[in-house]
């Protein structure tokens, strides 16, 4: 009986299509926002969490590289290299520079520059998708979004704090939305920032089987002016830093999206119950159990939400591809578990919003079937 009962009570396909489209739009809104958030955190995870770095040495009290401006003492690098268990320790210089196209007058960009022991030192670009790493001064690897905004590609030229620099590579997973990472040799970064020989962080690689905690404690004991973080710990602190401003916005838009979807589903079920009140009365008069009638109406709502959710997810993937091709400034990282969670929450919202119309359904008197 159930499939027939479901078909008997389903709303007209045009109305169903409109409702599913509305849910899809809500799902698209929320998926895109969550995917933006994932992109943001994945850039930090990708760079800070790159597998070659086991420990991060930062100035005392500094727990992230996004908003830090402190510098390490000049002797830090040498002292770190001398700690037993340290296989390699490489300096990183971090600063913001103003970048603009070498020959046209587009608006300048503020880039988060990381100067490292290029091309093979620790702390370079996590994934170069075009070109190569910088090898000498006045060479830079730009994030794809920066390159797009500056209107350059590999082989092009940009001004970094007034110094003309050649783009030798394009990196992915380095877009922080508000800014992007750019990678230079340490010499170039020193020249652009004016920090001289001082460095912002030291990236440490341990010898095989070394006890990371013990090495970290030893470094902190030898160098009182530093904080040492295990890779996962530093990733977590950096993610927290970039997400702090984004999460409230994410929460608000998610709530608005869910509310919009819930209102749509509620309207739909209201329409099904009100428009089909006589049909429902007939079914009840014929002896259909009210629980099955109610379940059919609810199933209809859930099916519409799931179809809308799947449509929204598909549109999100298409939107991501379109952005990557034509407007890479905004990157989207879509996780299947995020999409499933969003569809599940939409279903819960749909069920909650169905309460009032279902109360109305339960008050339908089968005797209404006899009224002319």
């Amino acid at each position: 009986m159930n499939p027939l009962l479901y078909r008997a009570l389903a709303s007209a396909w045009r109305r169903s299509l409109l409702a599913a489209s509305g849910v899809a739009t809500s799902a698209l809104l929320v998926v895109v926002l969550v995917a933006s958030y994932r992109n943001l955190t994945s850039a930090v995870e990708s760079y800070v969490g790159q597998p070659g770095i086991d420990l991060w040495i930062a100035p005392l009290g500094t727990d992230n590289l996004i908003r830090s401006s402190a510098l390490l003492d000049e002797g830090t690098l040498g002292a770190a290299r001398a700690v037993p268990g340290v296989r390699r320790a490489d300096p990183l210089l971090r600063s913001f520079v103003s970048a603009h196209h070498a020959s046209d007058d587009r608006a300048p960009l503020s880039l988060l520059v990381l100067g490292y022991e290029a091309p093979t030192g620790l702390g370079g670009p996590p994934r170069i998708t075009e070109g190569r790493a910088p090898r000498r001064v006045r060479e830079v690897v730009l994030d794809r979004a920066s390159a797009f905004q500056l209107g350059v590609d590999v082989g092009g030229r940009v001004q970094l704090n007034g110094v003309e620099t050649r783009v030798v590579g394009i990196s992915d997973e380095t877009n922080l939305l508000a800014t992007q990472f750019a990678f230079l040799t340490r010499e170039s970064a020193s020249g652009a920032s004016g920090f001289g020989e001082r460095v912002s962080f030291v990236a440490v690689q341990l010898v095989r089987d070394a006890d990371g905690d013990a090495v970290a404690r030893e470094i902190e004991a030898r160098l009182p002016g530093v904080s040492v973080y295990a890779r996962e710990q530093f990733v977590e602190r950096n993610v927290r830093e970039v997400a702090a401003g984004f999460r409230p916005l994410l929460l608000i838009v998610c709530v608005v999206g869910m509310a919009a979807a819930a209102v749509l589903v509620s309207l739909l079920i209201h329409a099904v119950v009100d428009d089909r009140a006589r049909d429902i009365a007939v079914l009840l008069a014929l002896g259909a159990p009210i629980t099955r009638v109610t379940l059919s109406v609810l199933t209809h709502a859930i099916v519409l939400v799931m179809v809308g959710g799947a449509l929204g997810a598909s549109l999100s993937c298409a939107f991501r591809s379109a952005l990557a091709r034509w407007f890479p400034t905004v990157g989207l990282v879509i996780h299947a578990h995020d999409v499933l969670t969003i569809v599940l929450v939409l279903c819960v919202a749909a069920l909650a919003s169905a309460y009032a119309p279902l109360v109305r359904l339960r008050r339908i008197d089968p005797v209404e079937a006899f009224r002319a």
Partner: protein, 229 residues
């Protein structure tokens, strides 16, 4: 043996100043194969009689026996299940479900009554043949005429093999040919399958199909009129 027995059944509709005695001490017995016509003016209580007979409304007083069960003592769910098995309805409007084909409307009626799907499909097919409406099986209600819709509604009322069919003004909005076809279908099923049929009607064209005619007025049933009147 009777299919339906009403003993001293009373039922009021509305409350307070607006309360109306829709049924007042009604006695009625319907036997297998009978076609009982209940005539009377609008508001006389005919529809209330049908809904109380089916167990959709409980009487304020009196007793109702439907296919061997005292419906007033049954729980709501058992009453619903008993009604689904024992009663078929034909409403004034056909009330077919617009999203289903004619065949599926009838099939759903059988499934609601608890028939197994294969048996329900076979019964639906056989009934469409018997009523001469096989050509309508795959049409949606909006592609049927009023008479065709009502004949499909008759099929829905009969598909699960009920003991009793209750029809409320089934020919009210039909032309004479369609009205005759609906009356013939109900009478045919009463005679061939032993179904008891109660028809509330104003339509004199149905008199030819009735085995008994009753008159209802102000909630009272009586004034039995001979079939030859």
């Amino acid at each position: 043996m009777s299919i339906l027995e009403l003993h001293r059944v009373s039922r009021a509709r509305g409350t307070g100043e607006h309360a109306v005695q829709a049924l007042s001490g009604v006695d009625l017995v319907v036997r297998p194969g009978e076609v009982v016509l209940v005539e009377g003016p609008s508001g006389s209580g005919k529809t209330t009689l049908l809904t109380v007979s089916a167990g959709l409304l409980s009487p304020d007083q009196g007793d109702v026996l439907l296919a061997g069960e005292r419906v007033v003592t049954l729980s709501a769910s058992r009453r619903r299940a008993h009604r689904a098995r024992a009663v078929g309805f034909v409403f004034q409007h056909p009330n077919l479900l617009s999203t289903l084909s004619a065949r599926d409307n009838v099939l759903l009626g059988a499934l609601i009554a608890g028939r197994e799907r294969t048996a329900a499909l076979a019964a639906t097919h056989a009934l469409f043949e018997e009523l001469g409406i096989s050509h309508l099986a795959h049409r949606r209600p909006n592609a049927l005429s009023g008479g065709e819709e009502q004949r499909v509604a008759v099929a829905r009322a009969l598909v699960h093999g009920p003991a009793l069919v209750l029809a409320d003004e089934p020919t009210a909005s039909l032309d004479s040919a369609s009205g005759r076809a609906v009356g013939e279908a109900l009478a045919q099923m009463a005679h061939t399958k032993g179904v008891g049929v109660v028809i509330a009607t104003h339509d004199p064209r149905l008199r030819v199909f009735g085995t008994r005619r009753l008159w209802m007025e102000d909630g009272c049933l009586g004034a039995v009129v001979n079939r030859t009147d």
